[in-house]
């Protein structure tokens, strides 16, 4: 559905159901150079199983207007503005990669608004290699090729995403190509520059799930260990044989873990 946040038109997918703010709210936050459609095989199920789902397109991404936000903290503020617009007092956040930093920051900044966070492919610090960061600025096709190669563990997926017959790597590449010029550099710079993670972790009191991928070459699973240990009660699950694009590579496993965590 179309939403309006801070005077700017934006978009949130509601899982094929009309959004009901009275239901337990779950807000999905995509990663860099992507949009809401990466959550198709998780968000639609939850929307049909008792949750009020908002899978947003961050500003400047997908169908949302405006420019991409430069800092993770700004994105966290924007997420809370979405909750305000939707009339939601508290919500669970599910974020992937850059989106996991946004969910993490949001839970630290607004503990009264966020009741649990699921952090997929989280790493702190989320450093971006110099070559990739440079490519995001100077040569977006080269950056897309690197991201696509490092985001996947295999050349075959069962039964593929969002369904049989889809070529996951091709789909991910096209999705990146659909984003506006400059978005990938803004996103990856925001990830690279994000700091203060340990201080933020100390402020997080809500149930936290780290959902990591064994073969993640973008944000290796070991990059979450320090922060995961510092959050009391945080649960960590590492999906075997899975790459960074874990919502597409292991859609059922991710959904089942999220459904259990959000129950």
């Amino acid at each position: 559905m179309e939403i309006e946040v801070n005077g700017q038109k934006a978009y949130a997918y509601t899982g094929g159901k009309t959004f009901d703010p009275k239901l337990p709210a779950v807000l999905f936050i995509h990663g860099g150079e992507q949009d809401h459609s990466v959550w198709g095989l998780q968000s639609r199920y939850l929307a049909h199983h008792g949750c009020g789902v908002l899978a947003v397109d961050l500003p400047g991404h997908g169908r949302s207007g405006g420019a991409a936000l430069a800092r993770i903290a700004e994105m966290a503020d924007w997420i809370v503005a979405v909750l305000d617009w939707a009339g939601v007092r508290t919500a669970a956040l599910v974020g992937h990669s850059m989106g996991s930093l946004v969910a993490f920051e949001c839970a630290a900044r607004y503990p009264q608004r966020i009741n649990r966070i699921a952090l997929l492919a989280f790493a702190y610090p989320m450093r971006v290699s110099r070559e990739l960061l440079q490519a995001t600025k100077d040569d977006e096709p080269a950056a897309h090729a690197m991201i696509n190669a490092w985001s996947h563990s295999a050349y075959a997926h069962y039964p593929s995403n969002p369904g049989p017959g889809f070529w996951v790597r091709g789909e991910n590449l096209r999705l990146m190509q659909r984003q506006k010029p400059g978005v990938v550099h803004a996103d990856f710079t925001a990830c690279n520059d994000y700091g203060g993670g340990r201080e933020r972790a100390a402020r997080i009191k809500c149930p936290t799930l780290f959902l990591l991928a064994e073969r993640d070459a973008m944000t290796p699973a070991r990059g979450a260990q320090d922060i995961a240990r510092s959050i009391p009660g945080a649960k960590t699950v590492t999906l075997k044989g899975c790459g960074h694009n874990l919502m597409a590579e292991k859609p059922d496993e991710v959904l089942d873990l999220l459904a259990e965590f959000l129950r």
Binding site: G16, H36, L41, R44, R63, A145, Y158, W167, G170, L175
Partner: protein
């Protein structure tokens, strides 16, 4: 950190979409001969039907063997998704029917396979879909034929019968100026010779019966979504951008930003039209694709040798092959088809229909039949077969002369092919 290598075409031909079976360890793609798939429980069943989870329900909609073929072709073409169909014609129909309906209009190249021409000229008008035919080479004609209700531009990458090379960048630019996609029949080129999506096409299909299979044992088609066309921005395709009552009010472009076309084509088109591929056929076509790069290279090498022989032969009035300097699309072919112009071409035999019959009947290696893209060399004489009801003037209007022969060059020893053709040409010259 060094830039990563990605798998190249030859490797994708063998591996894309498939890995050893996780349960049995089978290295080859298993043939899943089953109509249906067991649900884990009723919630799983409901979730599969409502596209909340991915998986197989019924083999008319999807099947694990077919999915390997679909992903492999999508990978080789650089697309986002593919759908295996009962034939190439079924793929063409599925592609058109997904975005066109009663009141829609299509602009098509007139240089088409006869079956495609029949569908557009005679059959689709019965369902309210009209087509305007234009010369593929006339960009102005493409442009002026577009109407407000035009839904797609359509052509073959190498058109029948003169092997016209489609100016994909030029026609795609016209399509996109008007907010409509370009769909191409890429059967004659295969992704080894040409990747239409890299040049601006948005949708494509193959008669997989031909070069993809290569063995001539299976009829099948594959429709591929390039994921490049922005259906939302176009505003002309409510089928993809507005809720569809036929699938729980689903808005396909909200579900998939890049592939709403493929979603609807499968969820509506395979479900309702039902022109699906058998998993046995998918397996057979996969066997062909494993050797596609090797075969295409040999097809092109053999074709060049045969063309060189025919061009010099005194019984030949002309050869239409885009690698020849006198072909009208020679310059375009050099740009779009650097690996070669395929293995199908026509030539003009001096003499009348009877000379054509004598030529065909004298051949011993070339098989006289209505197909192309086989590992074995094939020949057909349109004036005495596919177009035998036409008089000379009607043939000329279709771009066919009484002595026109179409060859599909196979993988035999090229000297054997040349000897066989020489035998036929001698017979043709006998009065």
């Amino acid at each position: 950190m060094a830039a990563p290598r990605t798998l190249q075409f030859d490797t994708l031909s063998l591996h894309a979409g498939q890995r050893p079976d996780p349960v049995t360890g089978a290295r080859a793609t298993p043939i899943y001969f089953t109509t249906s798939f067991v649900f884990r429980d009723s919630d799983h069943a409901a979730a599969l039907f409502n596209m909340e989870r991915a998986g197989h329900v019924y083999s008319r909609i999807s099947n694990p063997t077919n999915a390997v073929l679909e992903e492999r072709v999508a990978a080789l073409e650089g697309g986002v998704a593919a759908i295996a169909t009962a034939s190439g014609q079924a793929a063409l129909h599925l592609g058109l029917a997904t975005i066109a309906g009663a009141g829609s209009h299509i602009v098509s190249s007139s240089a088409l396979y006869g079956g495609s021409h029949n569908l557009l000229s005679y059959t689709l008008p019965r369902f309210g879909i009209e087509t305007t035919f234009v010369s593929a080479r006339d960009l102005g004609a493409w442009k002026s034929a577009i109407r407000p209700n035009t839904k797609v531009l359509f052509a073959e990458t190498l058109g029948n019968p003169g092997i016209d090379v489609l100016d994909i960048p030029g026609v795609a630019a016209i399509a996109h100026e008007h907010g409509i996609p370009l769909m191409v029949d890429a059967t004659f080129t295969t992704p080894w010779l040409l990747k239409p999506f890299e040049h601006g096409a948005d949708l494509l299909f193959h008669s997989a019966t031909k070069f993809l299979g290569g063995h001539g044992v299976a009829i099948g088609g594959v429709l591929v979504d390039g994921g490049t066309f922005d259906w939302e921005a176009s505003g002309k395709f409510p089928e993809l951008t507005e809720p569809y009552a036929g699938f729980h009010g689903m808005n396909f472009s909200e579900e998939s930003t890049v592939a709403p076309f493929a979603l609807r084509a499968r969820r509506e088109g395979l479900r309702d039209f039902g022109a699906c591929m058998s998993p046995a056929t998918a397996f057979q076509i996969l066997q062909g694709i494993e050797t596609l790069p090797l075969r295409m290279q040999r097809h092109v090498e053999n074709t060049r040798k045969v063309v060189e022989f025919l061009v010099k032969h005194p019984a030949i009035a002309g050869v239409s092959y885009p690698e020849l300097p006198d072909h009208p699309d020679h310059a375009l072919a050099k740009k779009l088809l650097p690996r070669g112009c395929g293995a199908v071409f026509t030539f003009e035999l001096k003499g009348d229909r009877a000379a054509g019959r004598r030529f065909v009947e004298a051949l011993r290696i070339f098989s006289h039949l209505a197909n192309v893209g086989d590992a074995k060399s094939l020949v057909i004489h349109p004036a005495s077969t596919t177009h035998f009801r036409m008089d000379s003037s009607a043939l000329a209007a279709a771009g066919i002369a009484e002595g026109t022969m179409r060859l599909s060059i196979g993988l035999e020893d090229p000297d054997d092919l040349i000897e066989d053709l020489g035998r036929g040409l001698r017979a043709a010259q006998e009065s």
